[in-house]
Symmetry: C2
Subunit: 142 residues, 2 copies
DNA sequence: AGCACTTTTTAGAATAATTCTAATTATTGA
DNA sequence: TCAATAATTAGAATTATTCTAAAAAGTGCT
C-alpha cells in the first residue's frame, strides 16, 4: 500500500506535497497543482477555471478555501496589485513582482542574494519585518 | 480682491494647493486638507468622516472622486495593504510603508538617498519602472 | 449680468471580489 | 462501525468601490 497518513486514497505523491500540518485533500492538491503547472500568477477565478478541467465538481468557495489554507501554511503566496483581484504564486523564494503594462504579464523579480533591505530603506528603529511585499509596474524596452 | 483664477470664492490660499491642471474645488481642498492636517494614512471612509466635520454636506462619492483626482494629479498617493481598504498618503517623497501589527500604525519608510533598486532586485532586462510599491508588515521592539 | 457649455457634486443603485452560512460529504481515530 | 471533526458546496451576504443620472457650480463669452 503506497498511501501514507498524508496521502488519502487515489492521490499521487507528486500531486500531494506534504505541507506541514495541512490535510492534503483532493481539492487542495488540485488547486496546488494548477499553480505549480502553470507557474504564472492566476486569480482565484482563473484557478477555479483551470481546476474545473480536471475536477468539474469543485466549487469557487472551495478554491478560495484551498488558496487560503495553502497561503496560511506557506505553500503558496498571495500577491496583490493595487485594487485588483488577488493573485497566487507558487514561487517561495523571496521575490517581488513586476507587472508589465504592455503584455499584462507578471514577472517574478528575485531579491539579490545577500542584499540588505536596510541598504535601500530607512527602517524604523527596532523594526522586525514579518512580511515584505515589493511591487513594480512598468514596461520592458523592446 | 485676493481671489485669483485658482481660488474660487471663499477658499484661502493654504487650503488650495495649485495642483497642475486640477481645478481646486471646495471639496477637493477639504479632502486634501484632511490628509495634510493629520498626515496619517486614512481610508476613504475615514477621510469622509473627517471632511464632514468642516463640510457636513460632502458626500462619500465626492470623497472618492476627489481622492481619485488628487491621486491622478500626483498630489497624493494611494496605498494598499493586502485586501484592506485603500489608504491615502500626502507624503510625496519616495517611500514605502511599514504596518506595525501591534499598534496598527502605518509608518512611512523613506528610501535611502542614492540607493539603487537594482542593488536589491534582479530586475528584468530592459525594465523601465513607472511605479514602485514597498510594503512591510511587522512589529517594533519595545 | 445673462447665457451656453463644461465640470463637479450628490444620493442612491449597481458591481464584483471575497466571505459567510448552513447543509452535506469526507476523513479520522477509537 | 461509529462518533467526532474537518472540508466541501451552493448560494446568500458583505463591503469597498464604481456607476448613473440629475442637480449644482464654475467658466468664458458677449
Ligand atoms: Mn494589467
Ligand atoms: Mn492592522
Ligand atoms: Zn511570484
Ligand atoms: Zn505614506
Amino acid at each position: 500500500m503506497k498511501n501514507n497518513i498524508n496521502e488519502p486514497s487515489g492521490i499521487q505523491a507528486d500531486d500531494c506535497p506534504s505541507v506541514d500540518g495541512l490535510r492534503m485533500t483532493r481539492q487542495r492538491s488540485e488547486v496546488y497543482k494548477v499553480l505549480m503547472d502553470h507557474r504564472d500568477h492566476p486569480t482565484a477565478g482563473e484557478v477555479f477555471e483551470r481546476a474545473k478541467e480536471n475536477m468539474p465538481t469543485i466549487s469557487l468557495a472551495t478554491v478560495y478555501n484551498c488558496l487560503e489554507a495553502l497561503v496560511q501554511h506557506g505553500a503558496v503566496r498571495q500577491v496583490n496589485f493595487e485594487r485588483e483581484s488577488s493573485r497566487y504564486c507558487p514561487n517561495l523564494t523571496e521575490h517581488g513582482h513586476f507587472h508589465d503594462e504592455e503584455s499584462g504579464e507578471i514577472i517574478d523579480v528575485p531579491l539579490k542574494k545577500g542584499a540588505m533591505l536596510s541598504d535601500l530603506l530607512e527602517l524604523p528603529e527596532g523594526a522586525q519585518i514579518d512580511n515584505l511585499e515589493i511591487t513594480l509596474r512598468g514596461t520592458i524596452a523592446e
